[in-house]
C-alpha cells in the first residue's frame, strides 16, 4: 500500500496529570475513511486534538504527509490540507452562515476558487444557501453540523477530521450527513477520519476502524470485519 497520509506513533496525551490516551498508534492511507469508535471517555476526541495540535502530545510522534506535525501550532495545519470539524461543531454563533464559510477559507487567497467552493457547499447543503444571511447561532443543531462541515470543506482539505458528526441529531439528518461524507470521500478523494459513538453507522461508511478503550487501541481491522466481530457487536452495537 502507499505511504500513509497520517501516522500516529505511540502518542501519549494528557490533561494535567491524567493520561487520556496512551501509546496510540494508527495509520491512515490516502482515500480511506477510517473510523475511531469507543465509549465515552475512551480518548477519541483527545486523539483528534493531538493530531490537530490543540493538545500537544507528551510523547510519541504525529506524521502528516511525510512531515512531523506534533508540536506545530494548530493554525499551521489547515493550509496544509488538514481540517477539522470539532466536537460540538463550534460554529461562530454571531457571524452569518456565509461569514462562517468565509472563515473556513481564511488562509486562502484565491478569491475565484473560494467562490466556487462556496457554491459547491451550498449545493451539498441547500438549506445553508437559504439561511446564508442568518447568524450561525440561530440555526438548528443539524444545520449547525452542516455549517461546520461546509466550513471545514472551504479549506479544501485533503484529510478531514470529523468529531461526532451525528451527536444529538435526528436520524434523517444523520443519514444526510453521512451521505455527504461518502460523497466528499468518493468524488473529491478526501481522506476522512471519523470519530463516532454511533459505531454501527460509522463502520458502515468506512473502510477500516480502530477501537479505543480507556486510552488504548484495543482493536484495528477492516470495517466489515469489525462489524461482524461478536465482541464489538456486544460492546458497541448493543446486541
Amino acid at each position: 500500500m502507499a505511504e500513509p497520509i497520517l501516522e500516529l506513533k505511540n502518542v501519549t496525551s494528557a490533561y494535567g496529570r491524567i493520561k487520556a490516551i496512551k501509546d496510540v498508534s494508527l495509520k491512515v492511507y490516502p482515500g480511506e475513511v477510517v473510523s475511531i469508535i469507543g465509549a465515552n471517555g475512551a480518548g477519541k476526541s483527545t486523539t483528534l486534538m493531538s493530531i490537530c495540535g490543540v493538545l500537544k502530545p507528551e510523547a510519541g510522534e504525529v506524521w502528516y504527509d511525510g512531515q512531523r506535525i506534533d508540536g506545530l501550532a494548530s493554525d499551521l495545519l489547515p493550509p496544509r490540507g488538514l481540517c477539522q470539524v470539532p466536537e460540538g461543531r463550534r460554529i461562530f454563533p454571531r457571524l452569518t452562515v456565509e461569514e462562517n464559510l468565509d472563515m473556513g477559507a481564511f488562509f486562502r487567497r484565491d478569491a475565484a476558487n473560494i467562490e466556487h467552493d462556496k457554491n459547491r457547499v451550498f449545493q451539498m447543503f441547500p438549506i445553508l444557501l437559504e439561511r446564508r444571511k442568518q447568524h450561525g447561532g440561530t440555526l438548528s443543531g443539524g444545520e449547525q453540523q452542516m455549517l461546520a462541515m461546509g466550513r471545514a470543506l472551504m479549506g479544501r482539505p485533503r484529510l478531514l477530521l470529523l468529531d461526532e458528526p451525528s451527536l444529538g441529531l435526528a436520524p434523517l439528518i444523520v443519514q444526510q450527513i453521512f451521505r455527504i461524507i461518502r460523497e466528499i470521500n468518493e468524488s473529491d478523494g478526501v481522506t476522512v477520519i471519523l470519530v463516532e459513538q454511533n459505531a454501527n453507522l460509522a463502520l458502515k461508511s468506512s473502510s477500516r476502524g480502530y477501537v479505543l478503550e480507556t486510552g488504548n487501541v484495543v482493536m484495528e481491522d477492516d470495517a466489515a470485519a469489525l462489524l461482524a466481530n461478536p465482541d464489538i457487536r456486544k460492546a458497541y452495537l448493543g446486541e
Binding site: D75, P86, F92, L95, F107, K133, R151
Partner: protein, 403 residues
C-alpha cells in the same frame, strides 16, 4: 403581558424601602446628630413620582390610553417605513451636513462640548475594535490616549514638529505601545486579560507621573503648539495657527469621520471577520488557520492607533497635558460608551459618546446628582436594553421557530 397589580405594588414597596435605606445615611447622618425631616421630604417626592408612574403604567396595561396609542403607532409605523425608504447615503450625508453646519448655529460652549464628544467618539470607536470586534476586555485603553498626547506634546515642545506630522508618528507610537503591552498579556483570556490591562493602564500613567526628566511629572507639559496650516491671503501663502474652537472642531470632525470610515472598512474586511471569529470561539478560529495571538495583537494595536490619534488632538487642543487626564475613570468612561451604545456597532458607539458626554452637560442643573443619575441610567439600560442603544446586528430568529 402586564405584571399582576399586587406583585407590582409589592415591588414598589420594596424598592421604596430600599431607596430610603440608601438615602437616609447620605442626608440624615450629620456630625450634630441624626436627622430625618430632609431625607423624608426628598424620599416622599420620589415615592409620589414613582407611584404616579406606576399608576400610568397600569392604566396603559388596562388599555386606558388606547385612544392615544393607536394613532401614535400608526405614525410610528409610517415613520419606520419612511426611514427605510430613505437611502443610507442620504441619511448619512444629512448627519455629516448637520455636523459641518453645527458651529454656525451654536455658541462657544457648545463647540467645546462638541469637541469633547468627537474626541470620545474616536476613543470609543478605537476601543470598539478591541472590545466589540475582537472581544478583548481592555480596562487600560486610556493609556494609548496618553501615549499619543505625550508623543505630540514632547515632539512639539522640544523639536517643534508640526501637528500633522505628529498624527501618524503618534499613531505608530501608540501601536508600538499596544504591541509591547499586548504581547505578554494577550495570551490570557477573559477576566484575567481585563485585570492585566487594568494594571498596564495604571503602569503607563504612573510612569508618566514619575519620569520627571522626560515628562515633567505631575506638573505636566505646557506650551504645546496648536495645529498650523498655510493659507493663501491673496498675495502669498502665510502660516497660521488653528487656534479657534471652530477650526479645532473641524479638525476633530475630520479625524472622527476618518475613524468612522476606517473602522467601517475594518468591520467588513477579512481581518475584521477574523477578529470576530476570535471573539466568538478562539479554538475554532485556530482550527480555521487563524493565528490567534497575531490577530489579537493586531486588534490591540489598531485600537491603540485611534487612541493615539485622539490623544494627539487632545494635546493640541488643550495645549497642556498632565497625567491626571489619563486615569482609570477615563478608561471606564470609554468602555461605558461602547457597552451603552452597543458593542461592535459604529452608530451605537457614537450615540454612547453623545449620551455620556453631551447629556451630563445638558443636565448641568443637576450638578450634584449627576453621578447618581448616571449610575441609575446605566443600571436601567443594562436591564432594559442589554445589547446597547443601537445593537450591532439584529439577532435572527431561530430557524426552528420561524417555521
Amino acid at each position: 403581558m402586564t405584571i399582576r397589580a399586587s406583585k407590582l405594588w409589592f415591588g414598589y414597596a420594596v424598592a421604596m424601602a430600599w431607596f430610603y435605606v440608601l438615602l437616609w445615611p447620605l442626608l440624615g447622618i450629620k456630625a450634630s446628630g441624626l436627622e430625618f425631616a430632609k431625607s423624608f421630604a426628598i424620599w416622599g417626592k420620589v415615592a409620589v413620582a414613582a407611584a404616579v408612574l406606576l399608576v400610568l403604567y397600569q392604566l396603559k396595561g388596562a388599555g386606558a390610553f388606547g385612544f392615544m396609542q393607536r394613532p401614535a403607532s400608526v405614525v410610528g409605523k409610517a415613520a419606520g417605513v419612511f426611514a427605510r425608504r430613505v437611502p443610507t447615503w442620504l441619511s448619512l450625508s444629512l448627519v455629516v451636513a448637520c455636523a459641518v453646519a453645527f458651529p454656525f448655529f451654536t455658541e462657544r460652549y457648545a463647540h467645546d462640548v462638541a469637541i469633547s464628544v468627537l474626541v470620545y467618539i474616536i476613543l470609543g470607536l478605537g476601543l470598539n475594535v478591541v472590545v466589540g470586534l475582537a472581544g478583548l476586555l481592555d480596562l487600560g485603553y486610556i493609556a494609548f490616549f496618553g501615549v499619543g498626547a505625550y508623543t505630540y506634546a514632547l515632539l512639539s515642545v522640544h523639536f517643534g514638529i508640526s501637528f500633522w506630522l505628529c498624527l501618524p508618528i503618534a499613531g505608530c507610537f501608540s501601536a508600538l505601545a499596544g504591541c509591547l503591552i499586548g504581547y505578554p498579556t494577550l495570551r490570557m483570556r477573559g477576566d484575567y486579560l481585563a485585570i492585566v490591562t487594568l494594571g498596564f493602564g495604571e503602569i503607563v500613567r504612573i510612569v508618566i507621573n514619575n519620569w520627571m526628566s522626560l515628562t515633567n511629572g505631575p506638573n505636566g507639559i505646557l506650551g504645546i503648539k496648536a495645529p498650523g496650516m498655510y493659507w493663501y491671503n491673496g498675495t502669498s501663502f502665510e502660516h497660521i495657527w488653528l487656534n479657534s474652537l471652530e477650526q479645532l472642531y473641524y479638525i476633530i470632525l475630520a479625524l472622527a469621520v476618518f475613524t468612522v470610515l476606517a473602522v467601517y472598512r475594518l468591520n467588513y474586511s477579512r481581518i475584521g471577520r477574523a477578529f470576530e471569529a476570535v471573539r466568538e470561539d478562539q479554538t475554532a478560529a485556530e482550527l480555521m488557520g487563524v493565528n490567534t495571538l497575531r490577530i489579537k495583537l493586531l486588534a490591540y494595536a489598531l485600537g491603540a492607533v485611534f487612541g493615539g490619534l485622539a490623544g494627539t488632538f487632545f494635546a493640541a487642543r488643550m495645549k497642556f497635558v498632565s497625567p491626571e487626564s489619563f486615569t482609570f475613570i477615563e478608561s471606564a468612561m470609554v468602555l461605558a460608551m461602547v457597552v451603552l451604545g452597543g458593542m461592535g456597532s459604529i452608530p451605537g458607539v457614537i450615540l454612547g459618546a453623545l449620551a455620556l458626554i453631551a447629556l451630563p452637560e445638558v443636565f448641568r442643573g443637576f450638578e450634584l446628582y449627576r453621578m447618581f443619575v448616571f449610575g441609575g441610567v446605566m443600571a436601567g439600560m443594562m436591564l432594559f436594553r442589554p445589547s446597547g442603544l443601537w445593537p450591532a446586528k439584529r439577532m435572527g430568529v431561530r430557524s426552528e421557530e420561524r417555521e
